[in-house]
Every structure is written in structure tokens, then in C-alpha cells.
């Protein structure tokens, strides 16, 4: 007697019931991933300009610290809103447990937010935008130290989100190990884009070119990692290939967020400085929107992939 498929499901599993449960998280999470990424990337870019750049760079890129602080402020409220028991949000910090990426992330956010706010205060004080008392206070801020330590925290904040999604059994999030790298690269390009967008009026051509270089490098890394991620994911990536997530992923994250900025920067090369500035601003806006599309589509498509019985089974087969 031949071994026929005796199971009630064509895939060999139990009817069509998924193996794992669908994640309960909602839209607040990808928006937080996006804002946290921008904050980390912008802080890194402005810090690099402040620590290693010339006076022009330093003056023009200060806006990155405002962006970082501004992007971080809604982060904690978004995360709290997504909790099942928002009144118990502070339980996240009742222990230190780096084994749990979510606990590590909560501590990173709790550390990075005051750093970014303090650094933004120092920036505002330096630009004489603060009232007397606050201005005096802002002089006490150790800016250089904060730029170094904040950059580390910012990069952790940008990347741990990919580790967190990967630390589940959702096929689309966990099959490939490239997701944390992809999120980090996207955070760098979006952060640099946000800085160049804020510096568009005040910066010298040279500073803008430097910012564009950082942004483009991030975009190139992002595109490379995105293709590697899709390749490695195999069957798990199916939700990204079909409606409704194909358009935000391929059109939004890859097209608008990756290819369009590259083409614009390339097209601006021969043009006048004014064209360069204009196209650069458009490219920066595209990069920032694409970074949200990337996180949103992977997040939502991951929920769909959690219902794929066969993808779960394939992920749990022994490797040779």
C-alpha cells in the first residue's frame, strides 16, 4: 500500500489551522519602528557631522537633534497604547532582561529619549532659542559625550526592532536573519534624509553633498539587504508578493524609498545647484516615506504569514 496523504489538509497538517498564533500588535508598532529609526539615524548623522565635520557641517546639521527628539517623544505613548494593560507600562522596566529584545528595547528607549532631548536643548541654547534660565541650564549639557553615547543608543534602537520581530516564530519575520540589518540600513538612510531635508535652506552645497552620500549609502545597503531578505525568506515572503502588501512593499519601500531617490540623485548630478537642492529634497522625502512603507508592509504581511501552516512547518523542519 502506497503512503498516501491521509491528513485532512492538503499540506499534511491539521485542516487549515495555522501552527502559530497571529500577532496581536496593531499599527502603533510599525509607526514606532519608523519614528525610532528616523530618530536613531538622524541623531547618528548629526553627531557624525558634529564630531568629525567642519564648522559648516556642524551649524547646518543641528536640526537633526530636534528631529531625533521630536520623533522620539511620541514613541513611548505609541508603545503604551498597544499594550493590553497600558496602566502597567512601567512593568517593562521592573527587571533588566536583555534576553528579551522587548525589554532591551524598552531600556534603550528610556535611555535614548532623555539623551536626545538634552542634546536638542543644548542645540536650542546654542542657537539662542531658549529663555534665560533654560539657556543657562542647557550649557551644562555635555554635548560631545551625548553625541557619542546617543549614537550608540540610537543605532541599537534602529536595529533591535528587526531582532524583536525575528525573535518570534512568524515565518516572514524569522526565516531570514537579515531583517535587523535591513531595518538599520533603512534607519540610516531615512535619518540622513530627515537631516538633509531640515538643512536644505541653511546648508552649504558641500554639507548637502555629504548628507546625500550618507543617505545614498544607506539606501544602497537597504536595497541589497531587502533583496537578500526576500530571497532567503522563500515561501514565507509570499504575502509580500500579492495584494494588498505587494504595492506598499515593492512600490513604496523598494521603488519610492529606494530606486526613486537613487535615480533623482543621479539625475541631479549634472544639474545646477538649484536643481540639485530641489531634487535632493524630493529624494529625501521619498526615502522617509519609503522607510515607513518598509516597516508597515513587513509588519502587516508578517501577520498574514503567521497563518501559513505550510510556511510554519517548513521553518520547523530539521536542517541537514
Amino acid at each position: 500500500m502506497a503512503e498516501a496523504n491521509l491528513s485532512p489538509s492538503p499540506s499534511g497538517g491539521y485542516y487549515n489551522y495555522p501552527v502559530i498564533r497571529r500577532p496581536v500588535w496593531t499599527w502603533e508598532i510599525p509607526v514606532y519602528f519608523w519614528l525610532g529609526g528616523i530618530a536613531g539615524g538622524a541623531y547618528l548623522t548629526s553627531s557624525a557631522a558634529g564630531l568629525f565635520g567642519d564648522d559648516d557641517d556642524r551649524r547646518a546639521t543641528g536640526g537633526g537633534f530636534y528631529i531625533a527628539a521630536g520623533a522620539l517623544l511620541p514613541c513611548a505613548p505609541l508603545l503604551i497604547a498597544d499594550l493590553g494593560r497600558p496602566d502597567r507600562f512601567h512593568f517593562m522596566l521592573r527587571i533588566f532582561k536583555p534576553l528579551s529584545p522587548m525589554n532591551l528595547g524598552a531600556w534603550t528607549l528610556a535611555g535614548f529619549t532623555p539623551m536626545a532631548v538634552a542634546r536638542a536643548m543644548a542645540q536650542a541654547g546654542g542657537e539662542a532659542r531658549l529663555p534665560m534660565l533654560l539657556s543657562l541650564l542647557s550649557r551644562l549639557v555635555p554635548s560631545r559625550l551625548l553625541e557619542l553615547s546617543g549614537s550608540v543608543f540610537g543605532l541599537v534602537l534602529a536595529g533591535y526592532t528587526g531582532v524583536l520581530l525575528g525573535a518570534t516564530n512568524v515565518p516572514l519575520w524569522a526565516k531570514s536573519k537579515l531583517l535587523p540589518g535591513l531595518f538599520t540600513a533603512s534607519a540610516v538612510s531615512a535619518g540622513a534624509a530627515a537631516v538633509s531635508w531640515s538643512a536644505e535652506r541653511s546648508a552649504s552645497d558641500r554639507t548637502l553633498a555629504k548628507l546625500a552620500t550618507v543617505e545614498t549609502a544607506g539606501t544602497l545597503g537597504e536595497l541589497g539587504l531587502a533583496f537578500g531578505y526576500i530571497r532567503q525568506s522563500g515561501r514565507a515572503a509570499r504575502p509580500l508578493m500579492a495584494r494588498p502588501y505587494a504595492l506598499p512593499f515593492w512600490g513604496g519601500a523598494v521603488g519610492l524609498g529606494g530606486i526613486v531617490p537613487l535615480v533623482l540623485r543621479l539625475a541631479a548630478r549634472g544639474g545646477s545647484n538649484r536643481t540639485k537642492r530641489r531634487l535632493g529634497t524630493v529624494a529625501a522625502a521619498c526615502t522617509i516615506i519609503g522607510s515607513l512603507a518598509l516597516r508597515w508592509s513587513i509588519f502587516e504581511a508578517g501577520k498574514k504569514s503567521s497563518e501559513d501552516q505550510q510556511a510554519s512547518m517548513e521553518m520547523a523542519t530539521p536542517k541537514e
Binding site: 491521509l6 485532512p8 500577532p23 547618528l44 502597567r88 532582561k97 534576553l99 544607506g218
Partner: protein
């Protein structure tokens, strides 16, 4: 100082470890009566889940949820136009596996999920803040968050407690107590494992060639999540019961994931330093 803190904060030292307890579910004895499901609901005061008819054999429960901690599966193995002996009706009472390396416990950021003195995995309802990380972390799809606006313990995570409250009073968990055929057996894990091995040998001699144990220390499925405190005797491949062949423990690949994020982060930091540092 520490003593004063512990007194004020009401810190108690954890109870001394006891012999690990667990379930051995022998599916060859299951008759699909669902007494375990009912007993579990009754003892743990879990609300009913509605009256939906699934059309999937006698299984109208479907899967685990925040209010379903035991689930009886009905696998109809029928072949059209074949003799009767090729046909089987498999039943299995599924439950939280209380893994030795539990993905939910490792994911939990608040320390709400703990390992008890009986070696089981338990959600402390007064600590859980409903972050939902344990839900997709579990490779078996067991633990779930109760709806935020529901009537049952809104917004926190729930799963089988192995009747922790009953264990503390030396009582058998409700499901095992209710099982009329001893398909669900409760006891010391080591003793249950020995019993399971004997039973497998017995069934093999009787010609049940596809019978196998699931979740024993020497098995493939224990490679990442460790031996299961609630393990099974199955009459077919694990996939037939929707059980993964090698359940994944997310921690195992976490270092590689951090490495990718770290590599890109260091690359970005060095690159931006070089870009801004360039003079000329």
C-alpha cells in the same frame, strides 16, 4: 538596607524546587469525549467560546485561545474507495507543552512568565502588561492575549497553568482528573517518561508501526525547546497533529540577528565619520 527594601516591597524568596510535574498524553487511549476541555474551563472559570460549527470532524474548538487551554483534535484519515483497514480516526488532547526552554518565558519583558517550583511555565496575572510578545514567540501557538475590551481578564496573556493552584494542594490537574480513559496522565515527569517508553514498546509489538513519542529528551523536537513537560504518544507523524517537527526557540538565532544589525550599524557609523571627516 536590602532587608528593609524587601520588607517594604513585600519581596518573598521563591519556593524551593519540587519534583518536576507534567502530563503524558497517550493519544492511543483518547476517545474524543472532551471532558478535559470542559473540566479545564470549569476549574479555571474560563468563559465559553460560542457555538460555531467548524465542519472539521467533531472539532468545534479549532485551536487554543486565551480561554481555551485544552483542545481535542479529531483527525479523520479516510481514503475514498479503499478497504476499511486503511482508515483511522485519530484523537488527541493538546495542551501547553511547558517546554524546558520556553520561548514565551524568554520573550516576556516584564518577568510575568516564570518557571514554577514544579518546573512548569506560569503567567503571573498581576505582572503581565499585555505586551503580546509571547503570542508569536510560542512555536506551538498556545499562549494568547485576551481581547482588550473583553470581559475575561482583558488584555493579559493566558494559557494552561498546569493547574498551579491545584498542585499547591497536592491535587491532580482538572483535565487529568476528568479523563475517563487515562489518556491524560499526570505525575512526575521522569516517571511519566518511563511509562511512555513502556507504552510505546507495547504498541509497537501490537503492530502500531507509526506510533511515536513527541517531546522526549532524546527526540528531535527537544533540540531547541528542550524536553517537553507535557509530552505525547502519537499514532502518526507530528505534522498530522499540527505539531512542528523541530519547534524553534527564537533565542538560538538571536546572536546572528544582532550581528547583522551591529555590522550595518558599525558600517554606518564609520562611513558617516569618514564622509564628514574628509577635508579638502
Amino acid at each position: 538596607m536590602i532587608e528593609a527594601y524587601q520588607r517594604v516591597m513585600n519581596v518573598e524568596s521563591p519556593p524551593a524546587p519540587k519534583t518536576p510535574k507534567g502530563f503524558f498524553t497517550d493519544t492511543s487511549l483518547c476517545i474524543g469525549c472532551k471532558a478535559c476541555e470542559v473540566a479545564c474551563k470549569q476549574w479555571n472559570q474560563l468563559p465559553a467560546d460560542g457555538y460555531r460549527l467548524s465542519g472539521d470532524s467533531y472539532d468545534n474548538t479549532g485551536r487554543f485561545s486565551a480561554t481555551t487551554w485544552r483542545h481535542v483534535e479529531f483527525v479523520e484519515q479516510a481514503k475514498a474507495n479503499s478497504r476499511r483497514d486503511g482508515q483511522r480516526w485519530l484523537m488527541m488532547s493538546d495542551v501547553c507543552k511547558h517546554c524546558a526552554n520556553a520561548a514565551c518565558l524568554e520573550a516576556c519583558p516584564t518577568g510575568s512568565l516564570i518557571r514554577t517550583e514544579y518546573g512548569t511555565v506560569y503567567v503571573q496575572q498581576d505582572i503581565c502588561n499585555g505586551c503580546g510578545f509571547c503570542v508569536p514567540a510560542c512555536p506551538f501557538g498556545v499562549i494568547d492575549r485576551a481581547p482588550k475590551h473583553g470581559t475575561f481578564e482583558p488584555g493579559t496573556a493566558h494559557k494552561c497553568t498546569l493547574c498551579y493552584d491545584r498542585l499547591r494542594d497536592d491535587m491532580t490537574p482538572a483535565c487529568a482528573k476528568a479523563c475517563p480513559t487515562a489518556s491524560i496522565q499526570f505525575g512526575d515527569v521522569e516517571e511519566l517518561q518511563a511509562r511512555a517508553r513502556r507504552r510505546l514498546g507495547e504498541l509497537r509489538t501490537r503492530g502500531e508501526s507509526r506510533a511515536q513519542l513527541y517531546g522526549m529528551p532524546e527526540n528531535e523536537e527537544a533540540r531547541e525547546v528542550g524536553p517537553l513537560h507535557a509530552f505525547f504518544l502519537l499514532l502518526d507523524k507530528p505534522a498530522v497533529y499540527n505539531l512542528p517537527e523541530v519547534p524553534r526557540l527564537p533565542r538560538k538565532s538571536m546572536a546572528q540577528r544582532y550581528a547583522w544589525s551591529g555590522a550595518v550599524a558599525i558600517g554606518a557609523a564609520v562611513l558617516s565619520a569618514l564622509v564628514f571627516g574628509r577635508r579638502g
